[in-house]
């Protein structure tokens, strides 16, 4: 992606980093989520909310290109995403951290850097320090706590030279410092023109700034989203997109909630 401008206002005119149109997925004809329409512009952080089993993780896997949607399309920076041609513009943090327990933290990050490239101005060591694990370079990942592993995985996302972060439950396993760290990382990423889609089942929230939210209400008919809305239909988990509670404070573009700016 082009060099990141400093002012968030500058991102407004650029095309959406991620755009989903009529995106839906079902498995064995059980609807998991969708149809969803939303766009993610540079400088935006969008929170995907939903109960356990609402399809948050699946949505992220679809958006990353690991999973083909049943219908609808995804555009990454204007280009349609296909399985054959995955975008080098996406970093995914999933439940499985993707870390090798036998390797040290720094070895894990070096491998990730070799695979995905390196964000300019960062090295595995500085990235590790950036997630509060300075001095843990040579500690085998196996001996780290769950929260520390999560931090190493976040460092991996931080290292990747990509504009779009897809973070699945980034707050899970983290202490209060860790939660603030995630928020800080997200804020910095948004300020340099990146965008992020994060999921949360509601226990933690992205507090700094006011992200847009997408409420998923798939799977279990009992677990509705925060807003009531239309009655539950069997075929579609109705997406609920609403702006953050304080739209006036929002730094980034808010031309419309649908997102096709």
């Amino acid at each position: 992606m082009p060099p990141a401008p400093r002012q968030p206002e500058d991102h407004r005119d650029r095309p959406a980093l991620l755009e989903a149109r009529g995106l839906a997925l079902s498995r064995n004809d059980e609807p998991i989520f969708g149809p969803l329409d939303f766009a993610l512009h540079p400088g935006e952080v969008v929170l995907v909310e939903g109960d356990n089993g609402a399809g948050k993780t699946t949505l992220l896997r679809v958006l990353s290109g690991l999973l083909a949607p049943t219908s609808g399309e995804i555009r990454l920076a204007g280009e349609p995403l296909t399985l054959a041609r995955l975008s080098p513009q996406v970093a995914l943090l999933s439940h499985a951290n993707g870390l090798k327990p036998e390797l040290t933290a720094i070895e894990n990050l070096r491998f990730a850097a070799g695979l995905l490239g390196l964000r300019s101005g960062l090295s595995p060591t500085t990235a590790l320090a950036g997630v509060g694990l300075a001095g843990y370079d040579d500690v085998p990942t196996r001996t780290l706590s769950a929260g520390q592993k999560k931090r190493v995985a976040l460092a991996r996302v931080l290292l990747a030279p990509v504009g779009l972060w897809l973070l699945d439950e980034p707050y899970a396993n983290l202490d209060r410092d860790g939660i603030q760290l995630v928020n800080r990382l997200l804020e910095n990423h948004a300020n340099r023109g990146g965008a992020a889609l994060i999921t949360s089942h509601g226990a933690y929230a992205y507090t700094s700034g006011t992200p847009r939210r997408i409420a998923l209400r798939g799977g279990n008919p009992g677990g509705g989203g925060p807003a009531g809305g239309s009655g539950f239909s069997r075929d579609a988990a109705v997406p609920e997109i609403r702006d953050g509670f304080a739209a006036e404070a929002a730094p980034a573009d808010r031309s419309n909630s649908g997102g096709e700016a």
């Binding site: 498995r27 064995n28 004809d29 059980e30 069997r234």
Partner: protein, 253 residues
């Protein structure tokens, strides 16, 4: 969208395919049964005894058509798997996976009849004859496809994975055939040729061909029957399936 693709989409849609298959299926079964019985009469009664093998040779009227069907079913399955993988057509996925057990059954019958034939001819139930060995490998290919399809929970993903395996198998079949033939020449001596250079009589050939036709028709009937079930399973939650299920229970009640 031109007329042809439109037609494909219409007939390929599960409810239409279900109805169409239901209409064709009984004809296939009926025709297959009639042709098969005529062919059996021709083969078991009308055809003359073989001067070398006596009456034992008559098993070829079952054995050979089944062997042909084993291969034909595999290519039918692979062709549908290819269509399913490239164009993601639901019906082809179902057709491919419906053909697998039928083809495996034909291959199994081939092996059993071959073994039955081997007892009077070679004095042993099993010989590592090139053809029988190839047939055995073919059975393993089928079992692999069926096993993989059964092991994956998501039905469509299962069909894609098993279809992919079927395509690999298509490449593998001629290679296996070639290698087994080579292997067999290396170990000459243990082989007894099943079909000598002797000319086959016309009164033997027509029941054979008729039986081949009968097995083909029967195969399609069987595949269509399985396809109907497969479509119902795949579209389990859809309205058209519910309508069928409710209609049937009402009729029974």
């Amino acid at each position: 969208m031109n007329a042809l693709t439109l037609w494909f989409h219409k007939t390929g849609s599960p409810p239409t395919a279900y109805r169409l298959a239901g209409r064709i299926m009984p004809w296939c079964y009926g025709l297959g049964l009639v042709l098969g019985l005529v062919a059996l009469y021709g083969g078991l009664v009308l055809a003359p005894r073989d001067y070398q093998q006596g009456d034992a040779y008559r098993i070829i009227f079952i054995h050979v058509p089944c062997a042909w069907m084993g291969l034909f079913a595999y290519f039918f399955m692979a062709a549908n798997a290819f269509i399913a993988l490239v164009w993601r057509i639901k019906l082809s996925e179902v057709l491919a996976m419906a053909a697998a057990p039928v083809g495996a059954a034909f291959t199994f019958i081939t092996l059993v009849t071959g073994s039955l034939w081997g007892k009077p001819m070679w004095g042993t139930w099993w010989t590592w004859d090139a053809r029988l060995t190839s047939e055995l490998v073919l059975l393993f290919l089928y079992l692999g496809v069926i096993g993989l399809h059964a092991a994956i929970e998501d039905r469509r993903q299962a069909a894609r994975a098993a279809g992919f395996l079927a395509l690999i198998g298509v490449v593998n079949i001629p290679i296996v055939h070639f290698s087994v033939n080579w292997w067999n020449t290396l170990h000459q001596g243990s082989t007894v040729r099943l079909m000598g250079p002797s000319k086959i009589d016309g009164s033997m050939i027509w029941p054979l061909l008729l039986m081949a036709l009968a097995t083909h028709v029967w195969f399609f009937g069987s595949v269509l029957a399985r396809t109907r079930i497969g479509l119902l399973e795949l579209d389990g939650g859809k309205d058209w399936v519910r309508a069928i299920a409710l209609g049937e229970t009402e009729a029974r009640a």
